[in-house]
Symmetry: C2
Subunit: 336 residues, 2 copies
């Protein structure tokens, strides 16, 4: 078995050190986000503000800020790249909600429910364009390469997920590929561009990238576990969203593997044939519990969390590294 983040009795507020560390820069990021979400076309700032105000944790942009500041980066490029990263993420959320036909996002009605799918697609495109404009402002071709690559990979991951949806034959390996692309790639890029603009060595950049990648995997695994167990208020979405949308996440993959033929018939009816009835979600959660599928998913998240912490060893010790370490624990403790 692999090393893992130790289980805690109480979820602690491990994100606070990171929040405090980048607080001043994050104010600048928020100002930049608001100004770059502006447009003479009223609908654009309206929709962008809806998402920006809806209280995301800004985890990805914090990675960029902390990992540039760790190396004493002087200048404002980390603020600008950080805002680009958040715009890329916001654009993805807008498009995701259209693709998934989601009703809620972070506890509020999804933009597509308020302004329609059409506006969500186009405003997502606008934010992506603004993100690239900001990257150009920073002037680092290397950072641009990393973020442009992430942008293509994220979309690739979403297409993969679309192919895997409603397909119970999805393997653990293809599930991991999907989340690496759709989630972890942006965490990795957000982390990597910090040392890149601070002029650090390829080894240092690679360590930051690995930290972000492993953290992103842990984060998504926890999210997928929460979808079958967190409380709606904590998560900002309904429990069972993935189930209703026919998404095959790791908890389901594990439960299908470990289940009986009868169980598999149940999953097939629910996830492959759009046939969800009253009581199905409760039955699904019961099966996941019986087969230890949630625990297995969380154990897997702990494994990637431990790898993220391992990657930090190649970065300089100090309060930045401590805060990044605690952020890993925070991501995992969300589910405890």
């Amino acid at each position: 078995m692999v090393a893992s983040v130790p289980e805690k009795n109480k979820p602690h507020n491990g994100i606070q050190s990171l929040v405090d560390l980048v607080a001043r820069d994050m104010e600048a990021v928020n100002r930049l986000i608001l100004s770059k979400a502006g447009s003479n076309v009223d609908l654009i700032p309206e929709i962008a503000k809806h998402l920006i105000d809806s209280g995301g944790k800004r985890l990805r942009p914090m990675l960029t800020l902390a990992l540039a500041d760790m190396f004493g980066y002087q200048g404002s490029g980390h603020v600008t790249l950080s805002a680009s990263v958040e715009f890329m993420h916001t654009a993805t959320l807008l498009h995701d909600d259209v693709v998934d036909e989601s009703d809620m996002r972070r506890g509020k009605l999804a933009a597509r429910k308020l302004w329609g799918n059409q506006a969500s697609v186009l405003v997502g495109d606008y934010l992506l364009g603004q993100a690239f404009k900001m990257m150009v402002d920073v002037g680092s071709l290397e950072a641009l390469r990393v973020l442009a690559e992430a942008s293509a990979v994220i979309a690739e991951g979403e297409v993969m997920q679309l192919g895997a949806a409603k397909n119970l034959a999805t393997s653990e390996a293809s599930y991991m590929k999907v989340i690496e692309a759709k989630t972890a790639a942006l965490f990795a890029a957000a982390a990597e561009v910090g040392p890149i603009i601070a002029g650090q060595s390829a080894e240092t950049c690679a360590a930051a990238r690995r930290y972000g990648m492993e953290l992103g995997l842990a984060f998504q695994l926890v999210d997928d576990a929460l979808d079958y167990g967190g409380s709606s208020a904590d998560l900002g979405k309904q429990v069972g969203d993935d189930f209703r949308e026919g998404k095959i996440t790791l908890p389901v993959v594990v439960a299908v593997e470990r289940g009986s033929d009868e169980d598999r018939a149940f999953w097939r009816r629910c996830l492959e044939t759009d046939g969800i009835r009253d009581g199905d979600l409760e039955h699904a959660i019961g099966l996941l519990r019986r087969h230890g599928a949630i625990e297995e998913t969380i154990a897997r998240a702990r494994h990637y969390g431990a790898s993220a912490i391992e990657a930090l060893a190649a970065l300089p010790a100090g309060r930045h590294r401590d805060a990044l370490h605690e952020a890993v624990e925070f991501c995992i403790s969300r589910v405890n």
Copy 2:
């Protein structure tokens, strides 16, 4: 009245000089497009290939090639940027068809009819990501700035169009703003990046940009006129698509301005309230003819075409300039 492109008795094949001029480079562009539309996720090359094979004229990428070659550009950056431009365009088409709920594109079923809206949104995002990766490969921050700006402006134009749809109060000025953003901005950027990577002066780059911008306006005006008068086979879309989608294009703006109260009530019923019945398209075309709305739109296109040719005067004389001149005539002659 402004200068205009002289009317011709017969539409001539003015695009051929440009096609011949860039033929070798265009082969390289086509190879690059095919390779960059590749992905391990099967759906991506499948959808991309559908659009790429569907016989667009590749007008935008030809501008980039010709306007780099005009200045003796050595290297392969113009080929790469040219492919990026086509990817940006293809991504826009995919998203447009979702937003407009179009059934046809270039005479074939729209991708969204074959693979669904979800895949169209995501594959569009993928192609946009690939476009930015290619731009980074070229390494010109200035070209990147121009294309990133275009990407944001195009989306802004599409959002504007969404706001103007089904709104008969749309003025000529707002219509022109929409087509400048959604269409002409990419023509302008495609033209401008040619002299940029060939290291030309700001004045030269601005002249190329102006040429592209005016050509793009002419092109879109002709397209909007064709939507009420071209034959389906020529246009690759059904006559009356804009009408059915409630798009307020210049022909309609002119006919509404010049029409009676009764006419306005007709347009309002058809375009604002989704109430199109059998025979309405024929009646609409009749009104457009009676009020000279198509002729007015084409006259306007000629005006912008003349401005495009005017812009060419600041660029070096020779076969490149001649071909770009003829391309203007081709764009306008499509409607004759």
